[in-house]
């Protein structure tokens, strides 16, 4: 029964997803109902499966390649989260996607995404996991591609970046399987004592953090924020990608390898995390678009999780995972508020927004809660997870802690700016008739906001029941729930948040508007140049790659032309010339044919005699 339920969590979304493509365009209502029901079924199944622990094998393509699934507390937690976000965002997108193009394609991809991510979470075999993981890649491409005009280009960009890192993952999996001699995840536990193992770890890590969206594999996300349909942003980069990436990173660090603190790899991960926090948040500061700003935060926040897990300390890992779920919550909440603003006003450009707080009070409320959460204000959930990460970071080095705190400062500052620009200030003349969004769009936002508060105030609930079981034996009796242990760090956090507020007020005084409150950072000496370059996408590795590809392609074009001339021109002309020559030799005169035969016979005779 449980095994069937387990399979159903994958099969139901897959089948109904495929159904979306099969059913005719006109059955819109049916499709919407199917979307909601399937995602609801996913949620119910995950609730049903919660706290179960078993392995389930399906014989597959041959010996050693069994399709095995494993259900245990981490998978259950992930499944529950997927079901939760899937259901909420599904009900949101039913309203949001009305009147857009490619609706049924989007629904189809949406459901398939749910199915595939469930597959990743449940797979207990590296090959099976890779299958679902790669499937996800295609879906990302599909989902972005159904957005606006430039979406296809962005989709290609995403596909290439994620595809290349997935190749790394593939290589890593091959190497891991080679080293351990098995593909079964639960029986792999490699020591990191040789070069190959380290290489395998790094390759797998690249795959995982790229899925999570960390720097330098992030550059498609901000573009997708503009081009892709909004529920996509809310579901994939905000929630599912983080879940997938961090889930797998945790599995790598906890299960696949004997990953220890104070190792070089740990430091590497932490550096990646810290850099991601700072660089992404710096970019977020200066964005003038609601969605783009959020997308940079989606990147920045992943830095905290990587930093936390990278410490390889129980407190860091718990903090990382806790931050992952928190981030999924508030970030998808924030994207949903962006969606309702876009739906009601038709734009997400901050220059054109303002004063929406009075017109859309519920949205504003949800925004406030989620913004507080992301900035790490007590008693919202972000506060607690960040404190745990801080705790771990300071144990590994003050520089990491500094990066994290600085990130926190900028996060708070940019959200003050965002809130001020969008919801406070003067109401734009075009938006005087703006109304509150439809209730079915408000409902998911509200639920998420409430969960944010609940996970903050009652943080024992997620920590004790969802997260700490994952580490099981490694906790050594610690319990990280409740109020943060270190008062010193809490005080510093408060000071930092206060400074952000002060900074904002000063900025508003100086420039006279919330939108430009951070211009003093944007145009600070030294930073201005870098920002200019960044806005021209000078730092986008994808663009570097494109430039390199351009050079290579110009070189290879020359070679190709030569080969082309050889193959198309010369060879083909030669073949055809030869062919018509042969045709001319067939004159229709039987004497000629007879002569050929006789000469052939004599040659054969001569050959046989001579040799």
């Amino acid at each position: 029964m449980t095994a069937i339920a387990l399979l159903l969590t994958i099969i139901i979304p897959l089948f109904s997803g495929v159904g979306m493509f099969i059913f005719p365009q006109k059955m819109r209502r049916v499709k919407e109902a199917l979307l909601i029901l399937s995602s609801l079924a996913g949620l119910c199944l995950s609730v049903f499966l919660f706290k179960q622990d078993f392995t389930f094998n399906l014989p597959w393509i041959g010996p050693g390649l069994g399709l095995s699934f494993r259900m245990y507390n981490f998978s259950a937690f992930m499944l529950l989260s997927t079901g939760f976000f899937g259901f909420l965002i599904a009900s949101y997108s039913v309203v949001f996607m009305q009147g857009k193009k490619f609706v049924s394609q989007f629904y189809g991809y949406f459901l398939l995404c749910l199915g595939f991510s469930n597959g990743v979470f449940l797979a207990d075999n590296l090959l099976a996991m890779l299958f679902f993981w790669e499937g996800f890649l295609v879906l990302i491409f599909g989902m972005i591609a159904v957005g606006n005009k430039d979406a296809f280009k962005t989709a290609t960009k995403a596909f290439i970046i994620v595809g290349i890192t997935d190749l790394c993952l593939m290589a890593g999996i091959a190497l891991t399987a080679h080293l351990s001699g098995t593909m079964v995840i639960s029986s792999i536990n490699l020591p990191l004592n040789n070069t190959l193992a380290n290489l395998a770890f790094i390759l797998l890590m690249v795959g995982a953090i790229s899925k999570g969206g960390a720097m330098p594999f992030h550059s498609w996300i901000p573009d997708a924020a503009i081009d892709a349909p909004l529920p996509f942003m809310s579901l994939i980069p905000a929630a599912l990608e983080k879940l997938l990436g961090i889930y797998f990173l945790t599995r790598i660090a906890l299960d696949l390898f004997q990953f220890t603190a104070h190792s070089a790899l740990s430091t590497l991960l932490m550096v990646v995390g810290a850099l991601t926090i700072i660089l992404a948040v710096m970019m977020a500061l200066v964005q003038k678009d609601y969605k783009r700003l959020l997308s940079y935060h989606a990147i920045s926040q992943v830095g905290y999780m990587i930093l936390g897990i990278g410490t390889a300390l129980p407190v860091g890992i718990v903090g990382g995972i806790f931050h992952m779920i928190n981030n999924a919550l508030y970030k998808s909440g924030l994207f949903l508020t962006a969606g309702s603003v876009e739906k009601q006003t038709g734009t997400t450009n901050l220059e054109k927004l303002g004063g929406l707080g009075r017109k859309m009070p519920v949205t504003f409320g949800c925004f406030l809660i989620t913004a507080f959460a992301i900035s790490g204000v007590w008693p919202f959930n972000g506060f607690f997870s960040k404190e745990l990460v801080y705790d771990a970071a300071i144990e590994r080095g003050w520089i990491f802690y500094l990066a994290a705190v600085l990130g926190s400062f900028f996060t708070a500052a940019s959200f003050l700016k965002l809130g001020h620009a969008a919801f406070l200030g003067k109401l734009g003349s075009e938006n005087t008739k703006t109304k509150e969004a439809h209730w079915s769009m408000l409902f998911p936002m509200a639920v998420i906001a409430i969960v944010c508060v609940v996970f903050g105030v009652f943080n024992q609930l997620p920590l004790n029941h969802l997260i700490q079981p994952v580490l099981a034996g490694k906790l050594a009796g610690h319990n990280f729930s409740g109020f943060p242990a270190s008062m010193k760090l809490v005080v510093i956090t408060c000071v930092v948040l206060f400074l952000a507020l002060v900074n904002h007020i000063l900025g508003v005084r100086a420039k006279g508007s919330g939108l430009h409150a951070l211009d003093h950072i944007r145009y600070a000496p030294g930073l201005a140049k870098i920002y200019d370059l960044a806005e021209k996408r000078f730092f986008d590795p994808y663009n570097w790659g494109l430039g390199l590809v351009g050079i290579i392609s110009r070189i290879s074009l020359g070679i190709d032309r030569g080969i082309n001339w050889l193959s198309d021109g010369l060879t083909v002309r030669l073949a055809y010339g030869f062919s018509s020559g042969i045709r001319k030799m067939h004159t229709g005169n039987y004497s000629v044919y007879l002569a050929w035969s006789l000469v052939g016979m004599l040659v054969i005779f001569g050959f046989l005699v001579i040799f």
Binding site: A575, H586, L594, G600, M601, I604, L608
Partner: protein, 477 residues
């Protein structure tokens, strides 16, 4: 009692020509089809019976020395299959009932002759049956007594006569040194001889004669003319099986049972095979006549078979036999496609065609199957035989020839793609807007052969090793 395979078609045509012609004419199609089906069944189901039907009385009266091995079985099956298909094709093309009846009679004679070739263990009997087949094919080519058909028939008669003269000369020399015409006797006599000029002459005569019969380059002059000018059904029959039975099979039989594989002989075979495979394919590239292109393609494919034979290994022989079977299937199929197109359009000029796929879907689809199988695209049947031949070449140490064989495959694909593009795809010529798909009696064999190509391609790997192993006995005996 394998003699029944020779006797039955002959007696069939004999009985059909007894009095009550009107009744017989009506029966002829059914009788003929039943005979061919029976032949296939006998080969496919060993217990069905040739071994069981062994009336002692018959054995006492007749003294036939016949033998069967894996290679003959493949050939017998192909003969039955192609003859059946030819029968179906013919029933659509000849309107006159007398013509139809005559065609069936000649077909029966040809099948009887080919079964004789396949079963004979005596070199002179083999020659006699070769001539029976040849005479029947002459009649089949000239059947409509159209100008081009007669021209093609005359060229075939001439070249074929030269081949038989060479062959009789070879037989005479073998007879001279052995005093007998039986395979085994000649073989042992040859073993006793030194490597003399006379023996080399005999072998050269024989091999050249069979190269002419099989249409290998540069002995092929008659083949494109005869194939392209023959009536539709006759082309199917000739290209599908006659040249393989009369040329390639006999060559294999002579090499295996009499001459043996010396290195020089192997190099001759490999060179001629590779030459035919490549030059035939190149010549096919620029053909504008549908059937002529298929004829050159036949030359090229026979080259592959000879390449397989030329390795002198069990694997190569098995590949050659498999390719004979595959070639019988896909080349009959393609000639039937050309027949259907010609019937619908009244022309064979490729440059005038285009977009027929929409009007003739079955023809288009099956021709794609046939072409791809011919070019050796997996999972179709042609892939396996070409693969085996190439592997055999490689493992026998003839790596250059293996590479040439692969190159030939590319060329094959090239001309078939251009054929498909200009016939079945592209824009439909307005002139041919109202054409219809061919009749049922043509569609049925096309679909049958298409299914065989696909089915064999998919299921062959299951029995491939068994198939190859059964050729141990061929080479051993």
């Amino acid at each position: 009692m394998h003699a029944l395979l020779i006797l039955a078609p002959f007696l069939g045509s004999f009985i059909l020509n007894l009095p009550f012609r009107k009744v017989n004419k009506r029966l002829s199609f059914g009788v003929c089809a039943a005979l061919f089906l029976l032949q296939m069944a006998v080969i496919l189901i060993p217990d069905f019976g040739l071994n069981k039907i062994n009336p002692a009385a018959l054995a006492n009266i007749f003294n036939f020395d016949l033998g069967v091995d894996a290679l003959s079985k493949v050939m017998l099956f192909c003969i039955g299959l192609v003859a059946l298909v030819t029968l179906c094709t013919n029933s659509l093309f000849l309107k006159d009932s007398d013509d139809k009846f005559n065609f069936i009679n000649v077909l029966l004679i040809a099948v009887s002759g080919m079964n004789g070739i396949v079963l004979a263990k005596d070199i002179f009997s083999l020659y006699v049956f070769l001539e029976i087949t040849a005479v029947a094919s002459f009649i089949l080519i000239a059947f409509n007594r159209e100008e081009l058909g007669l021209e093609g028939a005359f060229k075939y008669i001439l070249l074929s006569s030269i081949a038989t003269v060479l062959m009789i000369a070879g037989i005479a020399l073998f007879f001279l040194v052995s005093g007998s015409t039986h395979f085994a006797a000649i073989h042992s006599a040859l073993l006793a001889q030194d490597k003399s000029l006379l023996i080399n002459l005999a072998i050269a005569l024989f091999v050249s004669a069979l190269f002419i019969k099989g249409g290998l380059m540069p002995f092929h002059g008659w083949l494109p003319d005869a194939y392209s000018s023959a009536p539709a059904a006759s082309s199917v029959f000739l290209a599908g099986i006659v040249t393989k039975a009369a040329g390639v099979y006999v060559l294999i039989r002579i090499l295996v049972s009499i001459a043996g594989f010396s290195l020089t002989l192997k190099s001759v075979l490999l060179f001629v095979g590779a030459f035919s495979a490549i030059i035939g394919a190149i010549a096919a590239l620029t053909q504008t006549d549908f059937k002529r292109m298929l004829s050159y393609s036949s030359i090229s494919q026979i080259g592959y078979i000879i390449l397989g034979v030329g390795t002198g290994t069990v694997l190569g022989l098995a590949g050659a036999a498999l390719h004979i079977f595959n070639h019988a299937v896909f080349k009959s199929l393609l000639f039937m496609n050309s027949a259907a197109v010609e019937k619908a359009l009244g022309t064979r000029d490729i440059s005038k065609m285009g977009g027929l796929g929409s009007q003739m879907p079955v023809t288009g689809l099956t021709s794609v199957l046939g072409s791809l199988s011919c070019a050796g695209i997996p999972p179709l049947a042609g892939f396996w035989s070409k693969l085996i031949i190439i592997i055999a070449l490689w493992s026998a140490g003839f790596k250059t020839y293996a590479v040439i064989a692969i190159l030939g495959s590319v060329l094959t694909l090239a001309y078939f793609l251009s054929l498909q593009r200009s016939v079945f795809f592209g824009k439909l010529n307005a002139e041919f807007k109202n054409i219809k798909e061919a009749g049922f009696s043509l569609l049925f064999p096309m679909i049958l052969l298409g299914v065989i190509t696909l089915g064999v391609g998919i299921f062959l790997p299951l029995v491939l090793d068994k198939f190859i192993l059964s050729f141990n006995a061929v080479l051993g005996g």
